[in-house]
Symmetry: C2
């Protein structure tokens, strides 16, 4: 008789954003006259930039012509894209990363969920709290934790690193030594950034402890301050301890186009086995490459025109972030984030729980955000708003909240 | 100190098609004047059909317009595509499969590699021999086998079901009872088909043994005979024992576009846990949907124009299959497949090993095929040629082989 993966049964309830979707749909069905503004899920709203649209059309034309048709892509991605990434994201920032250390994928969510597969099931995992749920859930599904403890809302055997107002939403080195450390900066959900000096401390710690840092830099395009690193490879010694995940979703609006990449430096080894070779094997065996047309769209992101157009798109969203931040602050809310990230993290008023405030905002202002508690117990009493709406909707949402 | 997934180290060498690629590239570099014809890897060569190209251009236009822009796709795929599949692939064939039992993905290779994740590590796996390597390798990586035995070229603890000339390349029910059975028909690599009656025997056996059949129907579009089922759901009782994998790669030329789907009927359960709910959780947590534009291209595959154009494309490749089959037969080779599948499976002449014949064909005829032994020990002494080349190249390749 076949047996299921029992680890799946440890996961409580469903995925956070599915829960939110159900609540919002129910409210919308009961109140068809209300205009609901969604600043919840981190999905973009601006259309793809013209340089990207042109690249897509050109690539589609190729696919319709036998002489230029492209079948299976190279396992690790097309060189034209890997070279552009190596040059512009890394060499231009002084990072020593070569094109053959870059693995093209269908997005950072897949990579952040799949990367744990190359590690054994007895590694000790450390995550921030609050945290992007995928890091936790995929390790639970792989059997790297014990049961879920409903009282503490945590999984046994996982190390949680609190990120609270007290530590300025920056995790501290945990007391128990982890084997694998997930870090995401600029952070989802808090919008906090990490300075190069603080990130260097983590790199030094990981090298000393023999730990791997899985560094999710999906939001690096939103960094506005100069002492904030865009890549962990700006830190010394990172090639022996860090894997970096990157996305095209937030800097170029690819949420519906699906493209991302993972960097695994060749020096990252245990004994003589490199994580690079394991990830290459995983990638080649369980994945078959990102679509040619999407990889050409990714290349256009690095073109002169693409970069110029996307600079405007990021500025558009950061203008929203600033409007939310200033508006809520002037209305007496305690807010953070929004300076180097498209997320605003606010303290719920009058000691409301995150879900109470979610319901309150949905019912009175018809605005959808994300309850902080959905990201972990230390998110309780907080709430996330995203800057990815249209400017008009963002202004209207903030004005409605201010009028409450 | 972080620890790697040691199961990866059980895998001998690299992925079959990477090995072939290296050999061919080395020969090409040494012999720049030779025209090499590739009938090895199962990659298509015909451009995407006009109906698909039009759908792609239209969808790209939408992505460049704020009013029609699409961000994150629904977890399980867009309804327009799932409905088209449910109607045309299933209802029209009398199969009881609903749209919400269909999970859209980036292709059958990913699905066939990922599907094992929802099962525990102590399930007993049965595969055909020869076999598509992904089924075996992904179970090895997940720890469901023992070590690789170099003498027998098999993994300990895995059940191999020989498919040889003696049984007409059809597996027999194994002596040891498996929990999970991988079947692929029409078969890759042998090109053999299974009758509805024989498939019904497998379904009956699985229901009786409490086993799950993972049925890879990636090549169903090539079926030309009437007693061959296009889906396992044509068999009675399959809803309680079978998962089906389908691809857009071979019927519609999507190898470089990436689209597929997996069907998990809601009745497939152990206790009160349905595999449908586990796969939905896996899909929602470790994947973020196929690109909107590619799902629109998939929809075009089911349009009247699309279906008509693709019928022509399949006929084009099957004409190649027939040319290879007849040509080699007339030259004295022992051949099979090629009637309900785009693969021709031939016995190597004069007792040559599969790799010897590979080298011989590459060096003397400049034709690339796939060594049968790369698919498993019972593939030794066989060789796979694909019908996916251009007609001109196929004719030239066969004529060169005949002239040897």
């Amino acid at each position: 008789m076949f047996k299921i993966n029992e680890n799946y049964l440890k996961l409580p309830g469903s995925y956070l954003f599915s829960d939110i979707g159900r609540k919002v749909n129910a409210y919308a069905a009961e109140n068809p006259d209300k205009k609901i503004i969604r600043l919840g899920i981190g999905d973009v709203t601006q259309p793809l930039a013209p340089a990207i649209i042109n690249a897509l059309h050109d690539a589609v034309e190729e696919m319709g012509n036998a002489a230029y048709f492209h079948g299976y892509a190279p396992d690790l991605g097309y060189e034209f894209l890997r070279n552009a990434i190596a040059d512009i994201d890394y060499k231009n920032r002084g990072c020593d990363i070569s094109a053959d250390e870059i693995f093209i994928s269908d997005g950072a969510k897949s990579d952040s969920g799949n990367i744990q597969e190359i590690f054994s099931s007895d590694n000790k995992i450390a995550v921030c709290d609050p945290v992007y749920p995928v890091y936790v859930d995929t390790n639970v599904m792989a059997g790297r934790t014990g049961a879920y403890d409903t009282a503490s809302e945590t999984f046994q055997g996982m190390i949680y690193m609190p990120c609270t107002a007290d530590n300025n939403f920056a995790p501290e080195i945990p007391r128990e030594t982890p084997d694998i450390i997930y870090l995401c900066f600029p952070n989802n959900p808090t919008g906090a950034a990490i300075t190069k000096r603080n990130l260097q401390d983590w790199v030094d710690y990981a090298n000393q402890a023999g730990a791997v840092i899985i560094y999710d830099a999906a939001y690096e395009a939103y960094i506005s301050e100069t002492d904030i690193p865009h890549s962990i490879y700006e830190c010394e010694g990172s090639r022996t301890c860090a894997i970096e995940l990157r996305s095209f979703s937030k800097n170029a609006g690819f949420t519906g186009l699906r493209l991302g990449f993972t960097v695994v430096p060749r020096e990252l080894k245990t004994g003589d086995v490199s994580l690079h070779s394991l990830w290459a094997r995983r990638h080649g065996t369980k994945y078959n490459g990102a679509p040619y047309i999407v990889q050409r769209a990714g290349e256009a992101v690095y073109s002169d025109k693409g970069r110029q157009q996307l600079k405007g798109q990021v500025a558009y969203y950061m203008n929203n972030a600033s409007y939310i931040y200033e508006g809520l602050k002037s209305a007496g809310y305690t807010v953070s984030g929004g300076v180097n990230a498209p997320y605003i993290w606010l303290k719920t008023p009058k000691g409301m729980t995150s879900w109470d405030f979610f319901d309150h905002l949905l019912h009175t202002a018809n605005v959808v955000g994300t309850p902080g508690s959905g990201f972990g117990p230390n998110g309780e009493g907080y709430f996330r708003l995203t800057a990815f709406g249209s400017y008009e909707n963002t202004v209207e949402a903030v004005d409605r909240i201010k009028a409450l």
